[in-house]
């Protein structure tokens, strides 16, 4: 046996547990963090119950979709600062026209909006690929464009959606402990991401984020894949906008701003590397809940709003730093 082949042989078997921990450690860590926070959260209100779980799900749903949108783009080696204002745009368009629709019509309109937001993402991606202007510049410009269009559609918060549509995001199914928003989130993840993740398009997204040259030499069309990643991001942003319409009940042209940087925070917290090619969507979904839960708990605790932001920022730095140190430790050994 050769030295090299022997070395590979050694890493086989035996260490598969270590490898699992290495690959999925971060995700598991985020879920543990969420669990610990949740246990603490239970002790804060006088009467903690299914209502609290539901309101958490309502709060976190749009952010979870926004985090998915951002993560897909970051994994492909880009970044999308326009996620927040695209969410606003979808939100106001939905709220403006859905008000007097039946549920069936509203759902049809929602599907149309999803196609539109995916196209908007593809448009942003094409601009980046063909103009060769850096991602951050183009998406920053698109942030202003979508925000402006959103204000054109609806100057002040208003509009609405049919009641059954609102209940999709705010109700509960089967049991009081299962918020319908959570089910929709999991459905969106399972139907949109899972089939791609392990098929060629998903692998291509990872490959262009990991090493563009190697991806190209492997026969991946780098431009097409990057545009695809932005389109998928646009689709998730559309879902976030629709979720926001359902949970907030109205359209607000400025509502999306919150998601621009919080989506990046959730992605990073969820184990997505800003370098690209690393991470998944499972972690960022949990991270969106962590971010929302921390906010909720600080409000429950009566912490001043400004200090709450400081604490949230510190939490992100500490978590990402611990993760970074763990990775460096591993590299050294």
């Amino acid at each position: 046996m050769t030295t090299a082949a022997a070395a590979v042989g050694k890493t086989r078997g035996g260490q598969s547990a270590a490898r699992l921990a290495r690959r999925h450690g971060w995700t598991v860590g985020v879920y543990l963090l969420l669990l610990v926070l949740a246990l603490y959260w239970r002790t804060i209100p006088a009467k903690w119950g299914s209502f609290d779980v539901q309101s958490l799900a309502i709060d976190a749903l749009p952010l979870a979709f926004a985090a998915m949108a951002q993560s897909v783009v970051i994994i492909s080696g880009g970044i999308d600062l326009s996620v927040g204002s695209l969410i606003s745009l979808v939100n106001v368009v939905a709220a403006k026209y859905m008000v007097h629709m039946s549920l069936r019509e509203a759902l049809g309109f929602a599907a149309l909006l999803l196609v539109g937001s995916a196209a908007a993402g593809a448009f942003t991606g094409s601009l980046i690929v063909f103009s060769r202007v850096p991602d951050i510049v183009v998406t920053l410009a698109m942030l202003f464009v979508w925000a402006g269009v959103a204000l054109q559609v609806l100057q002040i918060p208003g509009g609405g959606a049919p009641l059954p549509y609102l209940q999709l995001g705010t109700g509960h199914w089967w049991s009081q402990w299962i918020p319908s928003g959570l089910v929709i989130l999991l459905l969106g993840f399972a139907l949109l991401w899972l089939p791609l993740r392990w098929a060629r398009p998903g692998l291509a997204v990872y490959s262009v984020g990991s090493n563009r040259n190697a991806a190209y030499l492997s026969g991946v069309s780098v431009s097409r894949t990057r545009i695809f990643a932005y389109a998928l991001g646009g689709l998730f942003a559309g879902l976030a906008g629709l979720a926001l319409t359902s949970t907030a009940g109205i359209g607000d042209p400025n509502a999306g701003q919150y998601y621009t940087l919080n989506s990046v925070a959730a992605a990073v917290l969820g184990g997505v590397s800003l370098v690209g090619g690393v991470g998944g969507l499972v972690g960022p979904i949990a991270a969106a809940f962590v971010v929302t839960l921390v906010k909720t708990m600080l409000i429950l605790k009566g912490v001043d709003q400004n200090w709450a932001q400081v604490i949230q920022g510190t939490l992100i730095i500490v978590v990402v730093m611990i993760g970074g140190l763990a990775i460096r430790q591993r590299r050294r050994t």
Partner: protein
């Protein structure tokens, strides 16, 4: 009718000509070597044939039919499968995912690897596997496409000999099936052992095709250098003899400024040499012999795995380039933009390394700064018409700025890593003269170049690096291309001087 026929292929990158009207003809059922010194255009040729880059002009025919190869995936469809110099596996995906990405059958690749008696865990991430293993997976992936022509760009460079043997077995097998292999290597022994014919490139042009078994190394080297250089070789031998009669070629005496003992880093197994003040020591090596690692260690960018080095009698263990610079050891890298602040002015660039030392905590003294910078600019004759932004200077002037900043801050040892890469001839000569001048003024200079012709012009002595060790030491005047090439291929066992 040959299997593949490339005619008059030309590729230019701005002023740099990678290929000029290069021709290549590969028969069915042969192993064809593509040879040439560093930068002769071999990799460019492979990339053009496999659709990675587009040629400026020229034509490619496959079995007599003209083809335009526009992408790697199209190349694979028409039966051309390459293994590139850099592994084409995405580090963050597992091996199996990488294979699915390319669209080859995972089972085929597994079977190919088994034939080569190699055992790989396909669920491992590519980035976690050792380089030789990645090369073998790359090879198996190319084989799984069942190509008519297999293109191997320096695949054996990163392989231990037993794995290289398996590559040769594959090549032999391919030939027996009536298919062809294009094989690029720096190891001439491999060419003679395994190849039917060889085409030699020099400066982007094909200078001839030969049968390696007939002519042997000598003929290959002659082709790589051209007839004049082969003449020069004979003359150099005479010079050598007169030198030997007249005494040592090394002018400087006294203690070593830089004393390197048993350094091990990357591909460098164990290297020792000493460099005296007033001397230019050349390091000649083929690509990938670890010369870059060696320079990085001396410049404080990386730490040696073993061994140590002394600067002016004191052991230096730099943790950071700052430590090396403070000890007087400074680097002029090949990629000038790595060393410069391209958007800033010439003055700031030259003064930048001094900010550490002069200012301490106080503000920068602009008059003192200007004076020092002016002196350095004058000394090097830098054309400063475009001095507001260094990136607007020509390559040669940029390189002078990187040297000038060390002049302004002071140093004892100058590490020049391929300082004339991509620079025009006139400026090159100025840089040679400058290096000689610096040495005469008492600097110790370590000089690596990928252009062999530079060594006799600049160096007092030259050491050649091959297989992780120093294979020969030559006097500067005796370091003609032929002797250097031979030593760089590890063909000289005894130390020449």
């Amino acid at each position: 009718m040959s299997l593949l026929e490339a005619r008059e292929v030309t590729k230019e990158y701005g002023p740099v000509v990678a290929l000029r009207s290069a021709n290549l003809s590969i028969e069915a059922g042969e192993v064809h070597a593509l040879l040439g010194a560093n930068g002769a255009g071999k990799s460019t040729f492979v990339k053009i044939l496999t659709g990675v880059i587009e040629p400026d002009s020229g034509s490619v025919e496959l079995r007599g039919r003209p083809v335009r190869v526009s992408s790697p995936s199209q190349a694979a469809r028409i039966g051309l499968a390459p293994v590139f110099q850099d592994p084409a596996l995405v580090p963050d995906l597992t091996v199996a995912q990488n294979l699915r990405l390319t669209g080859v059958q995972v089972d085929d690749v597994r079977a190919r690897l088994r034939e080569m008696d190699i055992d790989v865990d396909f669920t491992e991430q590519a980035g976690d596997l050792p380089l030789p293993m990645l090369r073998m997976i790359d090879l198996a992936r190319a084989l799984a496409r069942d190509p008519m022509l297999l293109l191997l760009d320096e695949i054996t460079a990163a392989l231990p000999s037993d794995l290289a043997e398996r590559v040769f077995a594959v090549m032999e097998d391919w030939r027996r099936q009536g298919r062809s292999v294009l094989f690029i290597t720096h190891r001439l022994a491999e060419v003679i052992a395994a190849c039917d014919r060889a085409t030699v490139l020099r400066d982007g042009h094909d200078v001839g095709t030969l049968v390696p078994q007939e002519g042997g190394e000598r003929q290959i080297v002659e082709y790589m250098l051209g007839p004049e250089a082969a003449h020069a070789e004979a003359r150099a031998v005479e010079v050598d003899e007169t030198e030997a009669a007249g005494g040592s070629a090394v002018p400087a005496t006294g203690d070593a400024t830089l004393q390197v003992s048993d350094i091990r880093i990357g591909n460098v197994q164990s290297v020792s040499f000493s460099l005296r003040a007033g001397e230019v020591l050349g390091v000649a090596a083929l690509e990938g012999q670890g010369q870059d690692d060696l320079f990085a260690v001396l410049a404080g960018e990386r730490r040696a795995e073993a061994g140590e080095f002394m600067v002016e009698g004191r052991t230096l263990r730099p943790r950071h380039p700052f430590d090396a610079i403070r000890a007087g050891v400074v680097l002029v890298p090949a990629d000038r933009l790595l060393a410069l602040l391209p958007q800033r002015s010439v003055r700031e660039n030259i003064a930048a390394p001094r900010y550490n030392r002069v200012t301490r905590w106080g503000p920068i003294n602009p008059r003192e700064e200007r004076r020092r910078v002016r002196e350095a600019i004058d000394a090097l004759q830098i054309d400063t018409r475009a001095q507001r932004q260094v990136r607007r200077l020509s390559g040669g002037n940029q390189q002078k700025v990187t040297i000038a900043r060390w002049l302004a801050s002071g140093f004892t040892t100058l590490l020049c890593f391929d300082p004339t890469r991509g620079i025009d001839v006139g400026t090159k000569r100025q840089i040679y003269a400058l290096l000689r001048q610096l040495a005469d003024d008492g600097a110790a200079i370590l000089f690596f170049s990928s252009e062999l012709a530079e060594f006799p012009l600049v160096c007092d002595r030259v050491v050649t690096l091959f297989g992780g060790r120093i294979t020969a030491e030559l006097a500067g005047e005796g370091a003609d291309e032929a002797s250097l090439l031979r030593a760089m291929h590890g063909l000289v066992e005894e130390v020449a001087v």
